[in-house]
């Protein structure tokens, strides 16, 4: 018996290979060296790997621009503009998250390369999800992403809440994975393939007499994704996990998981099941309304900023779903644009939260932020800008992110959905503003000055610069996002 080795296009896999290779290298090195490796070295390697992945996406982009989109590994992996931009976003998120984790692990006296190994592996899983052209590959990406995260959540063993969060995340995540793979099986049963292109081709050229199997399968895939992006009503894990996980891990989760999961969702809903879009739209409609409104409303009563950011990210997930609901090229462009602007903002926000959290990582009540911007105008001001961007204020990148998804929805014909989402944004604005107000309030408690380490400071600065720069000058980024969808051919 011979096994046919499929043709492999290594450039297409370069970012995945770089991140996973770095992860393995660190794993082996930490097993072989007797003394603990220096934190600086470990994080240096991780950062280099992230930047290497970012640079390789440039080469991918130029390849795609010249030769068009391509598939490799027996059509299971796709290289197109969409995957390139999503991969680049993940690489940027990983690089920023690594810098934050560097200072954090020094502060918390965490030895070893555990965080970096797992983060690199997780991020490579997210990269696989952006490139997957097969439900099985997508599932593998999802699992690589998730398993790393389950461990990351409980990484800081000094925190009691972490264990609870990790267990919760693991159990619910396991459920979601099971539902996802069952959905994949049903879709296979209905269409005879797990390859997204083949599914799309099959659905485009055949009429299903009994579409029940396909609908059930598609709905289960949706549920699996909804768990990962924490869409209501599958969001229950997210506030607890966000609160329980060490803050840099939360930042990592909030950014990179979203990119991977949404990229996978776009591929499944729009390229594989794109012909059935009208079937999924009502489901997505309900999901979006619930996600935006519940995320915003429950955020109102939170006093813990990590829980607050969890609900904020639920609210964002609803907005990103809008682009998928639209289902047009404008919608996909808006989705990827939203992710591109959201990742730096959210990683930088969590960087500030990490700093304020202090040693032990538990000063997360909103009271701890009272007067921060008065004591430390740069740090507090940076957080205010980042929050305004999450709110969607003009002259920040968040405004254009919301603008583009809403525009795609209105263009696709549902002003009502856009209006509901915007009203939810109005509710969400209240909790961002309350936080900002706390930053500028006068009655400062006896608070010590927060030292801003260099690497974390760089991340925060970078986040603010990206937020403001693309808030004033969003053209290039939007053009890139739109261009990525032109090359979006599964």
């Amino acid at each position: 018996m011979t096994v046919a080795i499929p043709q492999i296009h290594y450039l297409a896999l370069a970012p995945v290979l770089i991140l996973f290779g770095a992860s393995l290298a660190l794993l082996v090195a930490s097993a072989l060296t007797r003394a603990a490796m220096s934190t600086r070295l470990i994080n240096g390697v991780t950062l280099l790997a992230a930047l290497g992945a970012l640079v390789s996406t440039f080469f991918q982009w130029s390849f795609v621009a010249h030769h068009g989109a391509t598939t490799t590994v027996a059509h299971a992996i796709v290289l197109d503009g969409f995957s390139v931009v999503a991969s680049g976003t993940i690489a940027v998120g990983l690089a920023m998250a690594t810098l934050v984790a560097h200072d954090w692990s020094i502060r918390e006296r965490l030895r070893g390369a555990d965080y970096q190994i797992l983060a690199l592996a997780s991020a490579s899983g997210a990269l696989i999800m952006t490139q997957a052209n097969d439900l099985i590959v997508l599932f593998i990406g999802l699992e690589i992403l998730s398993i790393g995260l389950y461990v990351l959540v409980v990484l800081d063993r000094h925190r009691a809440t972490s264990a609870e969060a990790a267990l919760k995340y693991f159990l619910l995540g396991g459920f979601a994975s099971a539902i996802f793979i069952y959905g994949a099986a049903l879709v296979y049963g209905a269409t005879g393939s797990t390859n997204l292109t083949s599914i799309a081709y099959f659905l485009g050229s055949n009429v299903l007499v009994h579409p029940g199997l396909l609908y059930a399968g598609g709905a289960m895939l949706l549920v699996g994704f909804a768990f990962k992006v924490a869409a209501v009503p599958f969001h229950l894990w997210s506030p607890d996990v966000y609160e329980g996980a060490p803050t840099p891990v939360t930042g990592f989760m909030a950014s990179i998981v979203k990119v991977g999961a949404f990229a996978g969702l776009v591929r499944v809903v729009l390229s594989a099941l794109g012909t059935q879009l009208n079937t999924w739209r009502p489901i997505l409609w309900v999901l979006i309304v619930l996600t935006t409104v519940v995320g915003a409303s429950l955020g109102l009563v939170q006093r813990n900023v990590k829980r607050l950011l969890a609900y904020s990210s639920i609210n964002h997930a609803g907005f990103i779903l809008l682009g998928i609901w639209a289902g047009t090229s404008r919608g996909v462009g808006a989705t990827i644009f939203y992710l591109m602007t959201y990742v730096p903002t959210v990683v930088a926000s969590f960087a500030v939260v990490t700093l304020v959290g202090g040693v032990g990582d538990d000063m997360h009540a909103i009271e701890h932020y009272r007067g921060l911007a008065r004591r430390q105008p740069w740090l507090g001001g940076a957080l205010a800008v980042l929050l305004l961007s999450q709110l969607g204020a003009p002259f920040t990148s968040g405004f254009y992110a919301k603008f583009s998804v809403l525009a795609s929805v209105v263009d696709a014909g549902s002003g009502v959905l856009a209006l509901i989402a915007l009203l939810a944004a109005a509710i969400a604005a209240v909790f961002y503003l309350r936080w900002i107000l706390a930053l500028y309030s006068d009655d400062d408690i006896e608070a010590t000055r927060i030292e801003v380490p260099r690497a974390t400071g760089l991340v925060i600065g970078l986040g603010v610069v990206i937020t403001v720069l693309f808030g004033l000058w969003p053209g290039p980024l939007a053009a890139l996002a739109q261009h990525a969808t032109v090359l979006f051919t599964p």
Binding site: V410, G415, A426, I427, R434, Q482
Partner: protein
């Protein structure tokens, strides 16, 4: 100098002033100096624009002389400023209000962040009045919320956070429907005309659409403006917010920001959806008349001066809405004039109430009595402002209310008749409040207050001058407003608006 540069300067001068003021350390007077210098410069610029504008009176296309600068093509966002007779005096009003509010708000002058927010707010309101692109207008309109929120929530009264949140939530909700409406309009236009997404006023105003679409879009736009204006029943945020805001904030909110609502209604809701005008007219006119009666009635019974002015503003803005929606040239001209006059009058009211509050630490009518004795000048200044608000002939309020009522009467008599009751009620609540606050024997703390200081008198001098000047000689102003109103009405008229 190209005229659009003057307009851009109106936006950038306070912006730069705000940045400079924000850089100064706390409790440093230099930030105040920076603010006053930029406010004076701003006023000078506004005067230049008003004077330059007169050259355009003969020309028809006065709202369209600037160049477009596309900022973000994929989003259809462009920077495009222009001015016409309708926005001209609102620009002037913003500049005047900024300077007087900074002068009058003595408590916060040492706070660099306060003066920075005030300057920033003026920059954004200028941007909204000058925007010649619907999206650009929306962005500036939204941006005004942020400085307002901070001014109210940091320097307001005891219930400031509640007031700020209420204000923010109401206006943001209104803006949501405006945003969806304008996106929809943009796409309708794009699908019709092809090409890139654009929100240029000129292009969008010629979009053809069905009557139903026009009505829905009109409603989407009007909700946002009705909240801001405020129009009954969207006014419920305003009394609390006006009362809790610091003097500078109340002045800006009622004198300038409220005008953003009625200006938006006139320029964008009416200007962009002429088809819906006839359908919406009776509805909005009825709401306006209800607002006039309701606002006046509540102004009679409210226990504090700031809320009284807030309810009286509701009534006055009802007159503005009535004039805008009546569809007659005279009434619309009167409405534009009343926007300016009401701005100046409430500016005066809030400044004087601020002065009383500074002395008595209260603006509750029950706490005040017989202030006329110890403070005759203050009482006289209040009287002039009050008489203008009541509509005494010879003062500014009379001209605008007269134009609105006579213009409305000629086309929709009954609405004008009912609205006229509001004029009587205005005399009732204002004179009654005046009696309780200024007449009688002052006792206790009331008898010991000082009269208006020289500086305070100077702050109010421009208010009094404008009130009297526009009452006696409104022609130069009307000459500038009327052609633009005429132009707008000719655009709306084919849809069947009577003269």
């Amino acid at each position: 100098m190209h005229s659009s540069l003057w307009l851009s300067a109106l936006i950038t001068v306070p912006l730069i002033g705000a940045l400079l003021a924000a850089l100064v350390r706390r409790h440093d007077r230099r930030s105040y100096t920076v603010a006053i210098v930029s406010a004076v410069l701003e006023l000078a610029l506004a005067i230049v624009v008003v004077v330059l504008y007169s050259a355009h009176v003969a020309g028809a296309q006065t709202f369209d002389f600037a160049g477009r600068w596309v900022v973000a093509a994929p989003f259809g966002l462009a920077y495009d400023v222009a001015v016409d007779g309708i926005s001209l005096f609102l620009v002037a009003l913003s500049a005047i209000s900024l300077l007087l509010a900074l002068w009058g708000a003595r408590e916060q002058r040492r706070e660099p962040s306060f003066v920075a927010w005030m300057l920033l707010l003026t920059s954004f309101t200028m941007g909204s009045f000058l925007a010649h692109d619907v999206l650009e207008f929306f962005i500036f309109f939204e941006l005004t919320l942020i400085p307002c929120y901070f001014i109210i929530s940091q320097w307001g009264g005891a219930q400031r956070s509640r007031a700020a949140l209420k204000f923010f939530t109401y206006t943001f909700t209104g803006s949501a429907s405006l945003f969806v409406g304008l996106l929809y309009l943009g796409f309708v236009h794009q699908h019709q005309a092809g090409g890139a997404l654009t929100f240029a006023y000129g292009a969008l105003s010629s979009t053809s659409m069905s009557h139903g679409t026009a009505v829905w879009l009109f409603v989407a736009f009007a909700v946002a403006f009705a909240v801001k204006s405020p129009i009954w029943p969207f006014h419920t945020w305003s009394p609390l917010t006006y009362a809790e805001a610091p003097t500078g904030g109340s002045v800006q909110l009622s004198a300038v920001l409220a005008k953003l609502g009625s200006y938006g209604l006139l320029r964008f809701a009416v200007g962009l959806f002429p088809l819906a005008f006839t359908t919406m007219r009776p509805i909005l006119m009825t709401l306006a008349v209800i607002g006039i009666l309701y606002g006046s009635a509540l102004a009679c019974v409210t226990p504090d001066l700031k809320r009284m002015v807030a309810y009286s503003s509701l009534a006055q803005m009802g007159f503005v809405t009535l004039g805008v929606m009546a569809g007659s040239k005279i009434a619309m001209t009167g409405a534009v004039l009343l926007m300016f006059n009401h701005g100046i009058i409430t500016l005066g009211f809030f400044l004087i109430i601020g002065m009383i509050e500074r002395r008595r630490l209260s603006y509750q009518i029950a706490d005040l009595k017989g202030l006329q004795g110890p403070a005759p000048v203050l009482a006289a200044l209040f009287t002039v402002t009050m008489m203008a608000s009541i509509g005494l002939p010879g003062l500014s309020g009379f001209v605008s209310e007269y134009l609105i009522l006579i213009g409305t009467f000629s086309v929709h008599a009954w609405w004008a008749v009912v609205a006229a009751v509001g004029v009587v009620l205005a005399a009732l609540y204002l004179l009654w409040a005046y009696q309780r606050v200024f007449h009688g024997r002052s006792d206790g703390a009331n008898s010991e207050i000082s009269d208006a200081s020289t500086k305070e008198r100077w702050v109010l001098v421009p208010v009094v001058i404008l009130i009297v000047a526009l009452g006696v000689f409104p022609r130069p102003v009307l000459e500038r407003i009327t052609p633009s109103v005429q132009q707008l009405l000719t655009h709306v008229a084919p849809a069947g608006v009577s003269k």
